[in-house]
């Protein structure tokens, strides 16, 4: 199970070995210029089982899941799903995220689902801005959005108990954290 290729296959049923380095994924990726390893390099490093290199790169947290790579891959690899798998492995094995705010955002979304049953935008935005130390800078925007009625101060509950039940069962089957 320690082999990265089989770990990815187990989580998202994608075979990184199919990649032959045409780099179409990388040339279409809107964030590749900021990546320490570009998508094609992630695929190659995964084939070579360079786990630490892959999981510690900023790449998996920079991927915006826009699915351009997935759409264009001539080998039909869902590269965006591979990135998901790598994020899940990094989470499971407690690898420190290069861009810590992204996993924080993930956790908050899940928490919002569990507690409210929907995404509580005001709470999410407020907390994320606090973590990013941008609260004061973005105060005018928040104020303007509230005035325009584009943000709700308070959330509307949408059957969180139903979601919690699904999460419990999915945890039992898939064992995520």
């Amino acid at each position: 199970m320690s082999n990265l290729i089989s770990q990815i296959k187990n989580i998202v049923s994608e075979d990184v070995n199919l990649c032959y380095q045409c780099e179409k994924c990388t040339s279409g990726c809107p964030v590749s210029i900021e990546m320490e390893l570009v998508p094609a390099q992630i695929m190659h490093a995964s084939q070579l089982n360079l786990k630490q290199k892959v999981l510690e790169a900023n790449t998996i947290w920079l991927c915006a899941s826009c699915e351009t790579c997935t759409t264009r891959c001539p080998q039909g690899i869902d590269i965006s799903a591979v990135m998901d798998a790598l994020r899940i492995i990094a989470r499971r094995e407690k690898v420190k995220a290069k861009i810590p705010l992204v996993p924080v955002f993930y956790n908050l979304c899940l928490l919002s689902l569990k507690l409210i049953g929907c995404i509580y935008e005001m709470g999410l935005a407020g907390f994320m801005r606090m973590r990013a130390r941008l609260v004061f800078k973005d105060l005018p925007l928040a104020k303007a959005m509230l005035q325009k009625g584009k943000l709700n101060l308070f959330p509307t509950f949408r059957k969180p108990s139903k979601i919690r039940k699904i999460i419990r069962k999915a945890k039992k089957i898939e064992g995520f954290k």
């Binding site: 809107p30 699915e67 351009t68 759409t71 929907c118 139903k162 699904i166 995520f176």
Partner: protein
């Protein structure tokens, strides 16, 4: 025509204008919308980075509600919700094992018999037969974003590199629709909250290109794209191009008033810009 309707979280908060305008044009065009009972969140972006099964099971539980109601389709205007629903349908149809796991998660037998429709598909067929204002002087670009068309085998919606459905609708309304190469580029999505520099760069590039091709307005069909493009301009004070939902433009052509269309909720006033264009 009567459609079950799934609004999703954002249409009740950051995309109220989308909801208001969509409901308003539905009334005018004889489309009846009935909100799905007991809907929950669709489990967007963050969840598939935590658990692939959960990201299928939660949208499937919403589709199961539609199925329980005896309906065979549901209208989903939010591009992110649309994407998650389409993924659920695709994964459940392709993978029997996943289907079984999903049924176990949602404690019911989901038959996967519900078709997910985007409002663009409805209004591509219903052609508004009258145009109130002379709009041919207004240059518009259509911005579809990532999630509506990609990946094509899952979404099965329009062309993935050069979609046309919104272009067609806007052309029908009399607008001068411009061609541009950023129709399906990424706006940075939730990086607005988790990685602001990247979001500013990606959204900035889209707006810059819209300005370069000479667009007066940008039409969108995704709540997050609208908020990202609009609030960027609130912060940067340029390039001052209104970012409106396609449904608001249809509403303007129908002659519906600005409040009903939620136009007052946006940072850059589309009506002012249209007035300016008409004086050209």
């Amino acid at each position: 025509m009567n459609y079950p309707f799934y609004p999703g979280c954002s249409m009740h908060s950051s995309a109220k204008d989308y909801l208001e305008s969509f409901k308003a044009i539905a009334r005018y065009s004889g489309v009846e919308l009935e909100e799905v009972k007991g809907w929950t969140c669709c489990a967007p972006t963050a969840v598939h980075g935590i658990s692939p099964l959960l990201s299928i099971a939660i949208p499937a539980s919403n589709l199961a509600e539609v199925e329980k109601d005896g309906k065979d389709c549901v209208v989903v205007p939010c591009a992110a919700c649309f994407s998650r629903f389409k993924y659920a349908i695709h994964e459940i149809a392709e993978n029997k094992e996943t289907a079984e796991k999903v049924n176990e998660c949602i404690s019911c037998e989901f038959k996967n018999s519900v078709n997910v429709i985007h409002p663009l598909e409805i209004y591509d067929k219903i052609k508004p037969d009258f145009v109130i204002k002379e709009l041919s002087k207004v240059n518009a670009v259509c911005y579809y974003g990532c999630l509506l068309t990609r990946p094509p085998k899952v979404k099965q919606f329009d062309d993935c590199e050069n979609p046309q459905s919104m272009d067609n609708i806007l052309r029908q309304l009399g607008l001068n629709v411009l061609d541009w190469s950023f129709k399906t580029d990424c706006c940075g999505a939730t990086f607005n909250l988790s990685n602001k520099d990247v979001y500013m760069r990606l959204t900035g590039k889209i707006l810059e290109e819209a300005k370069n091709v000479g667009a007066d307005i940008i039409a969108v069909a995704c709540p997050l794209c609208q908020v990202n493009l609009d609030s960027y301009q609130f912060q940067q004070k340029e390039p001052n191009i209104p970012v409106v939902y396609f449904s608001q433009l249809i509403g303007l052509a129908y002659g519906i008033n600005r409040k009903e269309l939620g136009l007052h909720r946006q940072f850059i006033d589309v009506e002012e810009v249209i007035e300016k264009c008409l004086k050209r």
